[in-house]
């Protein structure tokens, strides 16, 4: 168990635009191990939703199976959640999104759930550019079955029991970019300052927003020799940018040096301002991003920040030209062609 939540709340807790305190965005008590990176990510989601004044019931949380997939119980307690089956979260999220386009969909998955059993669905949900936030809480191991290597464990990484992983790692961020994901970010569960604005920006992205968050497993993969331990990640992290998410701001007052900063306008009029740290990198150019990731890998660096964003491509609803009313709100009058039409149809088969 991570921590205990006091029931008492100070009456003067800050409230957001909707009049909710952060409490309205929390979930039940986490049953993950104390110090688990996943709890930090849950907390970042809570903070992002609170600060953005998202109506909690307009969010749906969907997950697969594993430690990461348990977390939707631990945030946004006033939202519907669906802990589905292993590796199949993307399909459930796809169906849910088709039913109601007016909600925010949080998909939570892990490295086992996405990079192994759910690889097929991960790949195809990207292809369709489903409008959702897809977070992989990536710890390089199967925590819930006691620490086996996962497909994102780096080659040569040492497990707690001392064995060395002989296989190449699947790099989910590179893969997502290769597949045409329209928003790809990478972060570290221990870096809330970076993670919170990334989650906010992801929620505003109309399309598939992928966040690969390195999230150390304190129990099974935090040992010397592991490349997903807190110590290793802190030493090898390399930020591409610092990022500000600027909701509904017509004018940006902060000064930025040309060539070092870039702004990306989202569909809903919000802006992302990126202060670039890597020089030869352009977040709207897939080739540049793919190169930056490859270079970082050769140097054993973990590149974080918003890596790539594309606001041009249609999301799945756009591709399918679905009507503006959510499909789950349509009634008989809009769905059933009626008896007269059926008479004509019958006549066509005579």
């Amino acid at each position: 168990m991570s921590y205990l939540k006091p029931l008492f709340r100070h009456p003067k807790l800050p409230k957001n635009k909707l009049g909710y305190t952060q409490k309205e965005y929390e979930g039940s008590l986490s049953t993950l191990c104390a110090g688990c990176g996943h709890d930090s990510i849950s907390a970042a989601i809570v903070q992002a939703c609170f600060e953005m004044s998202v109506e909690p019931h307009k969010v749906a949380k969907i997950s697969g199976i594993g430690c990461s997939s348990k977390t939707p119980t631990y945030f946004l307690g006033n939202s519907h959640g669906f802990n589905s089956v292993h590796g199949r979260m993307p399909s459930v999220a796809t169906g849910a999104s088709m039913a109601n386009k007016d909600m925010v969909y949080f998909g939570v998955s892990g490295d086992g759930d996405s990079a192994s059993i759910g690889m097929g669905q991960f790949v195809h949900v990207i292809r369709r550019n489903l409008n959702m936030v897809y977070i992989v809480m990536n710890n390089g191991c199967y925590g819930l079955t006691k620490g086996q290597d996962s497909a994102t464990a780096d080659q040569g990484s040492r497990s707690k029991a001392g064995s060395v992983n002989p296989f190449q790692a699947i790099d989910l961020a590179s893969l997502a970019i290769e597949l045409g994901a329209t928003f790809v970010a990478q972060s570290f569960s221990g870096d809330k300052q970076q993670l919170v604005p990334l989650i906010k920006a992801a929620m505003h992205h109309k399309g598939f927003a992928f966040l690969n968050v390195i999230s150390p497993c304190v129990t099974f993969n935090n040992n010397p020799g592991s490349t997903k331990s807190y110590d290793y990640v802190r030493e090898h992290i390399e930020a591409t940018s610092t990022l500000d998410f600027v909701p509904e701001m017509p004018e940006i007052k902060t000064n930025y040096e040309k060539g070092k900063s870039t702004r990306v306008a989202m569909h809903d009029g919000t802006l992302i301002q990126l202060n670039k740290l890597a020089t030869d990198w352009n977040p709207e150019d897939r080739v540049s991003v793919a190169n930056a990731l490859q270079h970082a890998r050769t140097k054993n660096e973990i590149l974080t920040g918003l890596l790539y964003v594309n606001t041009e491509w249609k999301d799945l609803h756009g591709t399918l030209s679905t009507c503006s009313t959510p499909l789950n709100k349509l009634k008989e009058d809009k769905l059933c062609p009626g008896t007269e039409a059926l008479k004509e149809i019958n006549a066509g088969y005579r």
Partner: protein, 612 residues
Amino acid sequence: MTKAVNDFIIRFANVNGTGSASANYLFAKAIFRMGIPVTPKNIFPSNIQGLPTWYEVRVSEKGYLGRREGIDILVSVNPQSMAQDVKSVKPGGYFMYDSTKKLPAPYFREDIHYLGVPMMEMSNEAFSDPRKRQLLKNIIYVGALAKLLNMDYSEIEKLVGEQFEGKQQLIDANIQALKLGMDYVEANFQYPLNFHLERRNLIKDKILVDGNTACGLGAVYGGATVMAWYPITPSTSVAEAFEHYCEEYRTDPETGEKRFAIIQAEDELAAMGMVIGANWNGARGFTATSGPGVSLMNEFLGLAYFAEVPAVLVDVQRTGPSTGMPTRTQQSDILLAAYASHGDTKHVLLFPATPHECFEMTAESFDLAERLQTPIMVMTDLDLGMNDHISEPFHWDQKRKYDRGKVLNAEELEHIGRFGRYLDVDGDGIPYRTYPGTHPTKGSFFTRGTSRDEYAAYTEDGAAYKRNMDRLMLKWETAKKIVPKAHLYQKENKSEVGILFYGTSTFSAEEAKDIMEYNEIMVDAIRIKAFPFGEEVVQFIHSHSTVFVIEQNRDAQLRSMMIMELDTNPAKLIPILNYDGMPITADAIKNQILKHLNLENTQHHELSKTAL
């Protein structure tokens, strides 16, 4: 020579991918338009082009729609299968062939008639385009048959006009080909043959359509908005029909906006996941697949059962196991579907027998799925799904409303106190649910495949788990009362022997019953329309000493389910089976039943007390 008016079987032997399907359909549809009951069946290979394919048309004045053994007329346009085709003709029957090439001597039989028509030669002379020559060769044999069988030429002409509306050149070419065939017969043969047609008025307002089209249309009428599917024979045309009718009736003519979403998924697992996600979020979603797809969907079916999410699956069954015979029919997914997924699970199945029922049951399945909050599987098959059948027309009551089941809205949530997603408030085992996004602070819950208590909180408490499993059984009892009732063929029992059947075994079972009655062997009959079995099924079995269970699989799957689910003696349920991939015939049913009864007579004297 005996005359057979409106009662014969004609089989066309073609090469797959040569355009024969539309010519053969033209032939069958013209008979339908002459008011005569007709059943065409496509017997096709798992191949796109090149392998043998057959099209069998049964004409039956008495209206029997099942398959019958024995071919009276064979139209041979495929040299590959000619040896076997010649053998398949009944003594006294006809073998029509393309006499452009001389028929090899071994293919001559003393006991059948030969009708050589130089189809290719005539087509080559009349048409220059190679593709047209190929296609119109098929129309030439339709023309020849029109004369030989006394078909109403005006009906054929009309159909050609409808098919190629607006394309006068094609109409002219087809008419020319038809006339070539007709003229050749007039000049060379005596006509009509002893097998021939006479106009009747037996069709009334019935329609000729395949079951998959009916399922797709039923889903449109039933209010499905999300369809996720993965291509698989023989179910693909369900998705195509759904899309076709959605495009026509659910697309805004001005904006082009669509009131539906169709996704071709990456596999059947994802297809079912999407269906569950959509239904969880308050839309009516469905998928269509066949046995191999149902195998893959087992995981999600278990989730939907346990987490109580509505879902609709149309299973167009084909011959299993594994890849089996993908283009042949069977009723062999019944057990798999009924108990799909690990753990204690049971699923509601519907068994349509006609396109009319495919339409009606698919539409109804959405009501049942939402009422019962569980997957509903519509168990059709390749024979029903992909072949045209004469059927009652589709029917829809304009006043009909969808039954969306027990769903709480925001206002109701304000007034009910604590919401328990899995709380049995009404005592029928069906709890209340909420859609995501209903209320800012009330009614949210966590859906999961793990055990939970009445308030949807995760629990490993054995007592809570058991309460939940018992409630699911109570819900199953509720299902028995609301699924379609079995059809009884008699008001009161007339015999101690009964026959029981479902789905596409119906046509041949009814015909077998008639044949037996003609021979003064009386049997009672019941047609199952759903699983779980209702009280009327229990009564039927209990009130007969022997019940023949007719089905199209090796393991007598429905019989097994009856033994498992009903308090009945297995010895009284006698399996009558057919599992060669072809639709079951009345003769096969009758012969198996008679064989069994004779055996019984020699062993058990008490059976002589029955009406038999």
